[in-house]
């Protein structure tokens, strides 16, 4: 597989959300806005990238039987780093993501990539893989966040999408957003259709 493919496979062909359907909890929980979704995606990408690199570097020194615990320690370390750094420098985002920052540690994608890829590939390949998967994850979360924000708040990244003029556009067609999309049920419904649309285009 070429290095480019190594990087890009996670974005579409093996997209962790739309194709592999992994890491659903943060996907649903943190995408009430595009910004939150992207923040979560980037945090996960960092963990994914770093743990992939470290694990591929140390994999051969680790006995099989303690493989999983060791990987978990590595991942948890990076998660805690993200946690602390965000708390210090991105308080607002940190608060809106809440418990899902520490929960990156149990995101199936992270451990999954460590198990399936990083422990048998070179550091550079693992880096590409982690980066690609992370980008795919971030892309998916941002997309879902955007869709939800657009429908549920008529805005994207906090910017209103309905122009003020002509006035009837807002008065007649887009008077109120479909609030449910920024709430729990809307997360499920929006993701359901995004995956369905993705399935359709994959074929």
């Amino acid at each position: 597989m070429s290095k480019v493919a190594q990087l890009t496979k996670g974005i579409l062909r093996e997209n962790p959300i739309f194709v592999l359907v992994l890491g659903m909890c943060p996907t649903l929980a943190t995408t009430s806005s595009a910004f939150n979704g992207m923040g979560m995606g980037l945090a996960t990408t960092f963990v994914l990238l770093s743990s992939n690199v470290v694990i591929s570097a140390i994999a051969r020194f680790i006995p099989d039987k303690v493989r999983i615990p060791s990987y978990i320690v590595v991942i948890a370390t990076f998660v805690t780093i993200v946690d602390l750094v965000m708390q210090a420098y991105a308080t607002k985002l940190y608060e809106s993501l809440g418990i899902f920052i520490p929960l990156i540690v149990v995101n199936c994608i992270v451990l999954g990539r460590a198990e399936a890829f990083a422990n048998k590939n070179t550091i550079f390949d693992s880096l590409l893989d982690g980066l690609g998967m992370g980008i795919g994850f971030t892309f998916a979360l941002t997309l879902l966040g955007s869709v939800r924000e657009m429908l549920g708040n008529f805005s994207i990244f906090g910017l209103p999408i309905i122009p003020k003029e002509p006035f009837w556009l807002k008065e007649v067609f887009f008077h109120d957003p479909i609030l449910v999309f920024v709430l729990a049920p809307g997360a499920f419904i929006a993701l359901a259709y995004l995956i369905a649309i993705f399935n359709r285009f994959k074929k």
Binding site: K65, V66, P69
Partner: protein, 288 residues
């Protein structure tokens, strides 16, 4: 060094050591013994779980394959020889190549050639119709055309032709798993040798009635006249119960019987066209 770092290091290290001890004990006490070769064999199998090999799924086949003394007795019809060679490699053995097989439909009675005498109005299932009557034509052996074979095919390799109302096997997709053979309540489908370049000859009829009634029910029925038996130079054709049958192991594809057959019940597939045509219907099947 800061005390917080020291406590952190101490706590986590202790935890790490404790876990290591626990896991070590676990690893010592509870070992699962399973032949690792089963996984390896399973990995080379197609994974269709079709059951064509006679075992419940590919895993079942893999287990049997690892256990058996004579791996030549097992065959995966879907994967074919390549797969079997790979699987044998896993065990460090070799297998003889088997001739590839294909499903053939032994009925050519399209509505044009085999008049419908009654109209069926019920659920679309050959099995069900079989319980009800012998078929909507005068031939009680012929294809019912309700597609039980289509429904069971896991490889999308068999379809009912909208004109002839008969099943047509897609040579590319057919894996000779035999599911359709089992599904057909009329026993019309048979697995036969695919033949060199797909060339094969067979009697496309299973009507065991005497000549008169058979001919009356269907224009392309085998009427049991025996001409093909006489003309065959390789002794490949037998006649039993008014029905000719070509043994594909003996047939040398000389095509003499095809010319001789008065009703056109014998089909030749994938041969280059020859100057004088036998009948139109042979083309029907070829043109799939």
């Amino acid at each position: 060094m800061n005390s917080i770092i020291i406590t952190a290091v101490l706590v986590l290290s202790l935890l790490g050591v404790a876990l290591a001890i626990v896991l070590y004990l676990v690893a010592q006490k509870f070992k699962v013994i399973e032949d690792p070769r089963i996984d390896l064999v399973e990995a080379v199998l197609p994974g269709a779980n079709c059951g064509g090999c006679g075992y419940p799924g590919c895993r079942g086949f893999a287990e049997a394959f690892v256990k058996t003394d004579d791996i030549g007795s097992l065959f995966c019809p879907v994967g074919g020889n390549d797969t079997m060679a790979k699987a044998a490699e896993v065990l460090g053995q070799t297998v003889e190549a088997k001739d590839p097989m294909i499903a053939v439909v032994r009925c050519s009675g399209s509505p044009e050639l085999r008049k419908r005498v009654v109209e069926y109005d019920g659920a679309s299932s050959c099995k069900l119709a079989t319980a009800l009557y012998s078929g909507d034509t005068g031939c009680q052996y012929g294809c019912l055309g309700l597609g039980d074979c289509v429904a069971v095919c896991k490889f999308d390799a068999i379809h009912i032709d909208p004109v002839t109302l008969l099943p047509v096997v897609d040579e590319e997709k057919c894996t000779a798993c035999g599911a359709c053979v089992k599904a057909c309540p009329k026993f019309i489908i048979e697995l036969r040798k695919k033949g060199p370049k797909g060339k094969r000859i067979f009697v496309s009829c299973i009507n065991k009635d005497k000549g008169g009634p058979a001919r009356k029910a269907c224009q392309v029925a085998c009427i049991g006249c025996g001409k093909c038996v006489k003309v065959c130079p390789h002794d490949a054709i037998t006649l039993e119960n008014n029905l000719a049958y070509i043994d594909y192991n003996k047939c040398k594809l000389c095509r003499k019987c095809v010319e001789e057959c008065p009703t056109g019940a014998i089909l030749e597939i994938n041969f280059p066209p020859r100057k004088q045509k036998v009948e139109g219907q042979a083309m029907n099947v070829e043109s799939n």
